[in-house]
Symmetry: C2
Subunit: 416 residues, 2 copies
């Protein structure tokens, strides 16, 4: 079933804000098995909105219109929808009461201009707004159903999930069974994932990739005749992918690497201390973005200067001189010392050259050493990531956190 989107607002056509509604809507619609064919972004201009509506009529089975439902004079979507399709506007009493109650419950006074939001085209059915005053609605014109939603992302999303998606599923009929799953992969390029999976026949399941640096997101969408077969198909595909890609699949849905590591540390009542040089605090920042991380993050030492490596971690000047600050030996020392000083279960350390300056022939820009100290041992590995400064920091932080994740998994599986 073909669906398209019309996005209305001067703030979009002047580049004042980035539209995110279309990307969100098109992903949700695709994951639910609808074909998104078009997005038109237009100004708050009567003539342009009218042209956009007429272009969509007949071309798609459903059209989602966002924006221009507010109480101010430049919010003209409803007026233009009515005019374009020759419909009368009338006051929707139920909607008016809801808006009035919403406004008054927030201690504000209901104003005449808000009455406008309760004027709906004849034949329109309401999509309640739980988060604001602008109600959405939908109406059928010939063979096309138009859904008009507010432009505020939160309100739009709520009305889409609660109102639009169920209606669209009714429109497409009862034989439409769709579901999806999202798997997050780290440590393989898109082409390598493709190579691992290409010999497998996924049948009616649609598999797609999205690069979200430095991760690849795998989306599995499955259609079927009933929900059992859809779930079974997704289970089988997920099992195959997990076997093929192994521990490179580190999370499902929206879970981040810092959340995965936090969950594992918490479950094992383990703690962590970090010693960062080239990542400049990013690893500790990521870990502490997770609520409750103070239970397992003890400290992070951003030892940027050589003196700070000596002062805070007690790394001897001789070692620094002999091997250089960017070396496996120093990385190991950093991990061991930060763990010992903090008396944590783990010590994680990185030292490298982020660039764009500071590289040498022996140690070019992008050189990095990552070390993990555990209760049993300390392990270190060298890498080379010749990327921009910002991307270098990101990839190094992720590689280091994945090292910790694998260690935690081994421990929880009883391997160590």
């Amino acid at each position: 079933m073909k669906v398209e989107v019309i996005t209305i607002g001067d703030e979009l056509t002047t580049g004042t804000i980035q539209d995110t509604n279309f990307t969100w809507l098109s992903e949700q619609l695709s994951l639910n098995g609808f074909d998104v064919i078009w997005n038109q972004i237009v100004r708050d201009q009567a003539e342009d909105i009218q042209r956009a509506l007429l272009a969509s009529l007949g071309r798609s089975h459903a059209v989602i219109v966002t924006g221009g439902l507010g109480p101010t004079t430049d919010d003209i979507t409803t007026e233009i929808v009515a005019r374009t399709f020759g419909l009368e506007l009338s006051l929707h009493e139920e909607s008016l009461q809801k808006i009035r109650r919403f406004v008054e419950s927030r201690g504000r006074t209901f104003s005449e201009s808000q009455k406008k939001q309760a004027m709906l085209p004849s034949g329109a059915l309401l999509l309640p707004n739980k988060l604001g005053t602008a109600p959405g609605y939908f109406l059928k014109v010939k063979e096309t159903t138009f859904f008009c939603l507010p432009g505020v992302p939160q309100e739009m999303k709520q009305q889409f999930c609660d109102g639009v998606l169920p209606e669209l599923k009714k429109l497409i009929g009862p034989s439409h069974f769709y579901d999806h799953r999202v798997l997050r992969c780290f440590g393989l390029a898109e082409a390598e994932i493709n190579e691992c999976l290409k010999s497998h026949d996924f049948g009616p399941l649609r598999l797609s990739y999205r690069v979200s640096f430095p991760e690849i997101i795998l989306k599995l969408v499955r259609k079927g005749n009933d929900s059992t077969s859809v779930q079974r198909g997704l289970d089988q595909a997920e099992a195959y992918i997990r076997q093929a890609l192994g521990e490179k699949i580190f999370a499902t849905g929206e879970e981040t690497i810092e959340q995965v590591v936090g969950r594992l540390l918490k479950a094992q009542k383990a703690t962590i201390a970090l010693a960062e040089s080239c990542t400049g605090g990013l690893m500790t920042h990521m870990l502490t973005n997770v609520s409750g991380s103070s239970a397992y993050v003890d400290r992070g030492c951003v030892v940027y200067s050589n003196r700070s490596k000596q002062d805070i971690l007690g790394i001897s000047p001789d070692i620094l001189k002999e091997h250089g600050a960017v070396s496996g030996v120093v990385a190991k020392e950093m991990a061991v010392q930060v763990r010992r000083l903090a008396q944590t279960t783990y010590g994680l350390a990185v030292t490298g050259i982020a660039g764009p300056t500071g590289g040498t022939k022996d140690k070019p820009i992008g050189t990095v050493h990552i070390a993990l100290a555990t209760p049993m041992e300390v392990r270190e590995k060298g890498y080379h990531f010749p990327l921009s400064r910002e991307m270098f920091k990101i990839i190094v932080a992720h590689v280091a956190l994945h090292k910790l994740r694998r260690e935690l998994l081994k421990r929880s599986s009883g391997e160590i």
Copy 2:
């Protein structure tokens, strides 16, 4: 002059990636005085691309088409442009040689499929691609000029700046003098800025705001009869705004607060050490995102646990017990100690409660103390930012870095 954009690609209509080209293009075009009226996002489907092209023809003076210029079979933009407007495709020799040289200079072999990228519609003029193989081009159909550019943002931007913008300026004619200026503001809400500036008559200058949390970006666009009057108009407006908003304007153009602070520290040959609790490393991460920051960032201590505050900074357990870790006294101690240990010019410290848990009646979530130790003194201030964990970290890091910035400005102006 009316301009519109057509964006082509299945990855956009399925929500696989967020389109950023339109926002960038519409901002650039608006800043240069063009009216952006429409954006159509369509799939890699011949029929849809054709319909989108025909919808734009006549409606706008210029149409920018992005995407679908690559070497693979689903890249069909050029073929459809030619078919839609009844133009022949022919091999563009100069372009072919450029593509061949580009591919070979990267040690790869030129393939037949890349030849396709050198096939241009008759009458098309080349827009050279300095960063990749896909050349852009433009051609006039009736009264509308179509510019076809690759979808890769970097390549699109280069071709737009070097090729499209100069052509558009030619199209609009010599009497079109436009220029713009961008001012970055921190510490005032949009409504407060508006209040400060509303009594002033900016004449023909267009002033707009964009929220880029936690900053407000002010955009000044000025039209005039010659470039002198345009520059004079911008100078006057900028001078007025700087006087009205004072040191809240902290940068122009794309400069970030961490770049501003870095520039000032470098100029004064000053150094900095950080002690972070609730920001979890974000301040140090921001400062070290700037290339060359190792010249002035000595260290950052993320002292998350009480023990780490004692170990690393030598804060006495008595003080922690008496005042609590989140207190003005501890913030001051952190700033003074980290500065003393690192022997830096400045010590900057924050301690607070990011939430969503950990608040008390006396110290609710969002409480934070920020302290700056200088060669002369230590100053501390308490704040309350009841925001999400992520936004709290961001605002606190910015407030702290702006405190440092004001100190550096005072010093450079000889005030201290």
